[in-house]
């Protein structure tokens, strides 16, 4: 295959990574933005989403599409409820103290990971995609006959992969609408900017925190449900999304939602493209290097606000 078609495939893979990453990182970003909690267990909520998706799809084994739709609804819901409970039981008890929440969520990470190992086991398990039609992509070349449309062998994608990108866009648009157009969003933004004043105007801040923590985890879980038909569920799958989410949130600017999306697209695309042409490890190295550069030259991130 020539460079052009090869690059197109790499970009498509990158777009999928970017879509999943945007969802996962958005969860981390919202939690940090509103609650100022650095959630180290975020990757485990992602993993849990994938594992629950496998359970649900496995139990409702009538038709792959039915199982998948059920998983897409149930997994984020269950993970969100679990995260909200963890917020009430752990984070609220330690008063959202920045240092102790980090230690607390590290503990949560291991509890979730090891519980999954004990119940789900060490195997990687696939979930069948609801539909998976192969789509060929045309390419063009200027050959002996002038401009020509050709269908290179191996240049194609699947309908499911396109669906992942589409679904991520729909979820993020929905989230944006909730944040900017609804009362719930207004309450979240007010709490983010000044939680004491929010409380002085009748906002039950603890309840908002539980919801936000649940929402953040649910976003990660939604990303994971979308990814399991491509990647398989495994109890250690939470590490990479956690690292990449942190990278994205730091580059985008802590707590800035548009910055998070832009950084997710940038990091996801470059991760996909570099992984295809070189190696996934190099992709991570470069992403981490970008973080270092951002921290040196623009510590508040691309769209973050500098502390006055």
């Amino acid at each position: 295959m020539d460079f052009g078609p090869h690059f197109l495939i790499a970009s498509l893979e990158g777009a999928i990574t970017a879509a999943i990453l945007a969802l996962t990182a958005m969860g981390l970003s919202i939690v940090f933005g509103v609650m100022r909690v650095v959630n180290v267990a975020h990757g485990e909520f992602y993993m849990l989403g994938a594992v629950i998706a496998w359970w649900v799809a496995h139990l409702i084994g009538i038709h792959p599409a039915l199982g998948f739709v059920a998983a897409l609804l149930l997994a984020p819901l269950l993970v969100g409820v679990l995260a909200a409970a963890a917020d009430k039981l752990i984070l609220q008890k330690i008063g959202y103290d920045p240092d102790r929440t980090i230690v607390g969520t590290i503990g949560l990470l291991y509890i979730i990971q090891q519980s999954t190992l004990m119940t789900f086991g060490p195997d990687a398990r696939p979930v069948q995609p609801p539909f998976n039609t192969r789509l060929s992509i045309p390419w063009f070349e200027f050959g002996d006959n002038g401009f020509e449309i050709i269908w290179p062998w191996g240049l194609g994608t699947t309908s499911y992969k396109l669906f992942v990108i589409f679904a991520a866009i729909v979820i993020l648009t929905g989230l944006w609408a909730v944040m900017t157009r609804t009362k719930i969003g207004l309450i979240m933004r007010a709490t983010q900017q000044d939680n004491e004043m929010a409380r002085a105007f009748g906002v039950p801040v603890e309840r908002v925190y539980a919801w936000v923590f649940g929402l953040g985890a649910a976003l990660a879980a939604a990303g994971a449900v979308l990814v399991v038909p491509i990647q398989q569920a495994h109890y250690l799958m939470g590490g990479d999304p956690l690292l990449l989410s942190f990278i994205v949130v730091i580059i985008g600017g802590l707590g800035s939602l548009p910055g998070t999306v832009i950084a997710a697209i940038f990091i996801g695309m470059s991760d996909g493209i570099i992984s295809v042409f070189f190696s996934p490890t190099l992709a991570k190295i470069i992403a981490t290097l970008v973080v270092a550069m951002v921290l040196v030259f623009r510590p508040q991130g691309l769209l973050g606000k500098a502390n006055p």
Partner: protein, 231 residues
């Protein structure tokens, strides 16, 4: 009637208030005077439930409010204008007002009423609060508190750093609320601005209220001001 009885408040291990008692009737303005760090702002925050009481009670018309969760206290129609305005800086004027309206589920009529009191805000509805001028920010902070249709209004240095025309406007709003039967609790540094509108004055010193007197008697006997405030 708002009654604060013998409240003790601590920030962690550090005691700040040692048995403060206040009582303000409807349609009355009580002014807290005292040096910096005397505990005036702490009293305001304690009434709002933002700081836990170690002992004592706060009641509004006979109902204990100090036992309520903090977010339910403003729903008793207690409007708070904090020191330094404390707007939601990245929300628009309209959204800041909306947060105030949500507290007691007030509707559009209240919104119109508040915007009538501060017509300047109507011109700025879509502007982000953090970019308003100081005077406009104070108007918005006051408007946000009025959105609760308050029975009690707590104002913490509402005229700090403002130009005279805005001070006069805020003063008129305070007087109007008094006439409508609102309990007004005011913290203010500028003694001259208070004496003309306050009914009672309470001097706070080191977390205790050392004396509460009529504002009228203070006007005749300014020596006390010198004693407690050094002015």
């Amino acid at each position: 009637m708002l009654e604060v009885q013998e409240i003790h408040v601590a920030y962690g291990q550090v005691n700040v208030l040692y048995g403060i008692s206040l009582s303000v009737k409807s349609g009355e303005i009580l002014c807290l005077l005292g040096r910096n760090g005397a505990g005036k702002t702490t009293i305001m925050k304690s009434i709002m439930g933002l700081l836990p009481l170690t002992s004592g009670t706060i009641t509004l018309n006979g109902t204990a409010i100090s036992t309520l969760p903090a977010h339910e206290i403003p729903r008793m129609r207690i409007g708070y204008v904090p020191q330094g305005r404390r707007l939601f800086p990245e929300l628009t004027v309209s959204e800041n007002i909306e947060v105030g309206l949500m507290t007691c589920q007030e509707d559009k009529a209240t919104r119109d009423w508040v915007l009538e009191i501060f017509p300047r805000l109507r011109e700025r509805l879509t502007q982000v609060a953090g970019t308003l001028s100081g005077g406009e920010q104070q108007m918005l902070a006051t408007a946000r508190a009025l959105c609760l249709r308050p029975q009690v209004l707590l104002l913490d240095e509402p005229t700090e750093g403002l130009q005279p025309s805005v001070i006069e406007q805020i003063r008129q709003v305070i007087v109007r609320m008094k006439q409508e039967g609102v309990v007004v609790l005011l913290v203010e540094q500028r003694v001259d601005a208070i004496l003309s509108i306050a009914d009672q004055v309470s001097f706070i010193e080191n977390g205790r209220n050392v004396e509460t007197t009529d504002a009228a008697s203070l006007r005749d006997d300014p020596d006390k001001l010198k004693r407690y405030l050094g002015v």
